[in-house]
């Protein structure tokens, strides 16, 4: 027995991929050319797996703000938000996010992971119950495991199953944290938030929604699935990230609960890490403003998502039921999925390869994410790369 024994399955998979000359996990981007193009593993590719939904990473105003902050405030804060790491920019961003979400309070974190994991690990504790969607992100699972609370899963996007779980809890349901996402990261499907809120209203508890993949995409103002479903008032805590639609890195939580301002001092992932660098805060603030000023980005994003979804569908690929900026192609055979990922790269399209247990089922996924910065021609080139793989029927035969 050795500490390393448990890693043997991982070691075997890695060796297998190396033998095949493919390394989809951690492919090196040698040169990034624009929000939608790069040289990856020596290939010039269209980027179709970056979560850069609004394409703001090279936005001149964002870059200029980051450069100015870098020159004026230095490369890092070198400290925790609770010590020397709270600069005026952090406070300004918290105020701007609270105003954007029309909520009273906001906390800014160093990463999205720190935000979701931090809230999920802190809000409920021993003696409390957390009921979370089975397909929740790893950061939420990590958080709830750390919480010490009793953890119950409900079937993915199944409000009736959630209700069953809360009913079984009886009076304890009032002491429960319900955890869901807005758009789910792997398949791009949306939570039925109106139904979930109805269940919450009947049984009590607090609701946390992770809108990491829906910020800037849905609702009149781009606040996410809760806004689109008209249930923002029933959401107790919204968490999200700056690393997708806002093109930087960092995370946030907004809420109308005044307790959030004290809770921040109980969140270990907020306290025991350095705060976001001034340049990151500066570009995020500009991106947040641009996202509000340019609703056309959202429109373009959905046009591109529809174009890619329709194109892949007509090629015969198995897709998730809902059109979304995350378009996931399901491939049953893992080895074929690896081969497809490699072929796509050689044909000029970078997508994400997702294998179990990271995928929600025993199938593998070629997960695409669309950007507002993609041109229709680029979407067509991604489709051409997929077309070169063959149809779903020929895949099944391989």
């Amino acid at each position: 027995m050795s500490l390393f024994d448990k890693f043997q399955p991982l070691i075997d998979v890695r060796a297998e991929l190396e033998r095949a000359g493919v390394m989809p996990f951690g492919a090196v981007t040698e040169k990034i050319l624009s929000p939608t193009e790069a040289i990856v593993e020596g290939q010039r590719v269209i980027l179709a797996g970056t979560n850069n939904y609004l394409g703001l990473t090279f936005e001149p105003e964002c870059v200029q703000a980051a450069q100015q902050a870098l020159a004026e405030q230095g490369t890092g804060t070198t400290g925790s938000r609770m010590a020397n790491g709270t600069f005026a920019g952090h406070i300004a961003l918290e105020e701007e996010l609270a105003a954007f979400f029309a909520k009273q309070h906001c906390i800014v974190f160093s990463t999205g992971y720190a935000a979701t994991m931090g809230l999920a690990s802190t809000l409920a504790g021993p003696g409390d119950v957390i009921v979370l969607d089975a397909d929740s992100h790893a950061s939420l699972y990590d958080g709830v495991r750390l919480s010490g609370a009793e953890i119950v899963r409900f079937r993915h996007n199944d409000a009736a199953d959630l209700e069953k779980r809360l009913r079984r809890l009886g009076k304890r349901s009032a002491n429960t944290l319900i955890v869901v996402e807005g758009i789910y990261s792997m398949l791009g499907d949306q939570a039925p938030l109106a139904d979930i809120v109805e269940v919450k209203n009947r049984h009590g508890g607090l609701l946390l929604v992770d809108e990491a993949h829906s910020l800037g995409m849905l609702g009149e103002h781009g606040r996410g699935v809760a806004e689109a479903a008209g249930v923002e008032d029933a959401v107790d805590f919204t968490v999200g990230t700056f690393s997708k639609s806002l093109g930087a890195i960092g995370g946030y939580c907004v809420s109308d609960h005044a307790e959030l301002q004290a809770i921040r001092f109980a969140i270990r992932s907020y306290i025991f890490t350095a705060s976001p660098s001034p340049s990151v805060i500066a570009s995020t603030r500009v991106a947040l403003r641009l996202m509000q000023e340019r609703p056309q980005l959202r429109e373009r994003l959905w046009e591109n998502a529809q174009r890619l979804y329709d194109g892949l569908k007509s090629l015969g690929f198995k897709l998730s039921p809902q059109v979304s900026p995350v378009v996931a192609v399901t491939i049953e055979d893992r080895d074929w999925a690896i081969a497809c990922w490699s072929r796509l790269l050689r044909r000029g399209a970078y997508v994400n390869l997702v294998m179990p247990p990271a995928s929600p089922t025993s199938d593998s996924l070629l997960r695409c994410s669309v950007s507002a910065a993609h041109t229709p021609e680029q979407i067509d080139r991604i489709l051409e790369a997929f077309a070169s793989l063959g149809t779903a029927d020929t895949q099944a035969a391989k």
């Binding site: 953890i151 119950v152 899963r153 079937r155 779980r165 079984r168 247990p357």
Partner: protein, 80 residues
């Protein structure tokens, strides 16, 4: 309230289709190392038990479960 034997019987019933030919299924069978269940299949087993007995099985008990016996014991504890 179901007892240990009822839980055991139901677990055997659910596991039967998952069990590979030649693999003996008894209360000492280890779910992952002997029966070869994937993490998804373990969750499917849990969901089927939840539906059948109308209970919620907290994820917290999973680290303490290696065998069929462990699972039945933990379920009995939940109920009492």
């Amino acid at each position: 309230m179901p007892d240990y034997d009822e839980f055991l019987e139901r677990i055997f019933k659910i596991l039967k289709p998952f069990t590979k030919p030649g693999v003996m299924l008894n209360k000492d069978s280890e779910l992952v190392t002997q029966l070869g269940l994937t993490s998804l299949q373990v969750m499917e087993l849990i969901e089927q038990l939840e539906d059948h007995f109308d209970i919620s099985i907290p994820l917290n008990i999973l680290p303490d479960i290696r065998t069929v016996h462990d699972l039945a014991t933990q379920l009995e504890r939940l109920e009492h």
